[in-house]
Amino acid sequence: MSASAATHDDHHDDHHDDHGPAKGFMRWVYTTNHKDIGTLYMITSLIMFMIGGAMALVIRLELFEPGMQYVDPGFFNQMTTLHALIMVFGAVMPAFAGMANWMIPIMIGAPDMALPRLNNWSFWLLPFGFVMLASTLFMEGGAPAAGWTLYPPLVLQTGDSFPFTIFTIHILGISSIMAAINIITTVLNMRAPGMTMMKLPLFVWTWVITAFLLIAVMPVFAGAVTMLLTDKYFGTSFFNAAGGGDPVLYQHLFWFFGHPEVYILILPSFGIISQIIPTFARKPLFGYSSMVYATASIGLLSFVVWAHHQYTVGMPIAGELYFTYATMLIAVPTGVKVFNWISTMWRGSMTFETPMLFAIAFVMLFTMGGFTGLMMSISPADLQYHDTYFIVAHFHYVLVPGSVFALMAGTYYWLPKWTGYMYDERLGKLHFWLTTISVNVTFFPQHFLGLAGMPRRIPDYAVQFAEFNAWSSVGAFVFGFSQLLFIYIIIKAVRGGQKATDEVWEGASEHGLEWQLPSPPPYHSWITAPFVK
């Protein structure tokens, strides 16, 4: 990408760490440069976003009207399962990892990640994992179709693709673990002189906590899917009641991983939003240290609330009560964050460039997702909501106008830094409005569908649900096609345009070290650490 290709014509020294990027395709295969790897992650993520999005459109096409029209139910279930796995592990996580790679060394004044070769590995495992996952579509029995949660005993009915699905999860998990270790090691060990922990930009802080969550829960997931494998092929009965096992044990394992996982998908977004709002409000972030502590408490709480996904499984009443209260507690630190973002904007001299628009929409719409979460945290009420479209509405509000909007905001915010060119602001605003309106048209009606009792993961439904489903499908198609505009805007900025200044956004140099480097930064930046005051 031009981000790094344009830089190194000004050197005249043969020292080994001074070379620019190698030429050709092999540059990308062997690279250990954090900016190259960041770029690779983000391109992969965009591709997966489009593939996962296409699958979502298959789902919404079938659900446009009642009755079975386009796909058979088996394939429909493969689509819901693959859509979720691809979006979570292929689109959102790699996008955050890419931004971490690009920005964390620059933000803490380090020359690169602490473990550059490990970094190369953690990226290059991904394409193998995704090719393997996609290949399951062509296997006997089709792709996995039991939902992204892979609950036994249903998931044990998967055809030939079963071991490949498990193996994919192992590969993606190893990749995430390596990325997490790299990020933690980098932040703990490579900070510039004067960059104390309590001066770290919030994007870095949120990623450190995310990395800790990843390290803490990935082995549980790896263990759980391995037990699925041995249950199916090696005669064990971890989850098989007939052999003395317990299928509910799988649910505990999965959600002990799964709930922290959903926070892995949102905490870096909190970081990005906390970078953007101060820049465009032209004020320092309100309550920096309370932001750090709130993030840490959300991280800690996320380990003790997992069974709110299992209220209907027949828990003891004490369990229901405990998980209800523990889950409701999460609203407190989350509220602190929302309060701080709004206070940062309060009386700021705000401007509304595309990154800020996405950030403001994030604050409003993510909060709505948080509220439905609060509703579902109440176990007697959740008996009604569970496994309905209300859940689908909840997690899409936190994940799309939450995580995905934060990623879009971050992309517009840092794109001029990465490429050296301003993106087209007029098209950016158009993309914002198309996206924001269509996301609400898609997901808001799903609340009503869920409350009225429409179950999730079904290809057909009773006629009284027809109208809201039609709305939702129309919204989804507008949303999907608006993202082609996003890709066009990115490509346009990569290829040229108005030159970006080093600071890019007025006054931004007060908001982080990245704005003190040229746009684009040289291939090797901060070889000599800056001194942070």
């Binding site: 190194h8 000004d10 050197h11 020294d13 020292h15 001074d18 602490a114 473990l115 490990l118 673990i177 390596m178 270790i181 790299n182 933690i184 090691t185 703990l188 060990n189 490579m190 900070r191 510039a192 002189p193 960059m195 800790f212 390290i215 803490a216 829960v217 990935m218 082995p219 549980v220 790896a222 263990g223 759980a224 391995t226 037990m227 041995t230 971890f238 096992g245 317990d246 044990l249 505990h252 394992l253 002990f256 480097l517 040229p518 930064p521 040289p522 090797h524 930046s525 901060w526 070889i527 000599t528 650490a529 800056p530 001194f531």
Partner: protein, 164 residues
Amino acid sequence: MIKTEQGVPGRQHRIILTANASMTARQMHFFLAIALLFLGMTATGFVMLGAWPVLPFAGLEWLLLAYCMRKTLDRNALREVITLADDVLIWEQGRLEPERSLRLQSAWVALEWGESRNRNHARRLFLRSHGRRTEIGAFLTEDERATLAATLTRLLSDNQKYMR
């Protein structure tokens, strides 16, 4: 970081330069202990429920984490020691022990600033003697290099005075 030590006043000096490593070994052990505690608690809990395959994954992961942190810490242990004793200047660079070194006649040593590698990098500082130059303090910040240059210049001239 630059640390100066003195032996016989005016005659023996030592300057110690260390790389930018923001974590001490103690902090690393503390962090690894917390990670072990966390992983240990979850793995034990699940083993008690019969899900023992969680344990090997947790163990392997912790080992990888510990290995990676240890390695970074070692790499960042790079240091340089400049010793001025009477008429010789000894420059040594290494981790636990010197890996590269240079012995120069201090009367012939000059400090020289070179161009920075790149427009964002600090200017480079060299020791020059008999037409050969060696970069020193490559891991220091620009401010630190300036401090180093000033200190070294002062010590060298003190030393000259004494030797005369």
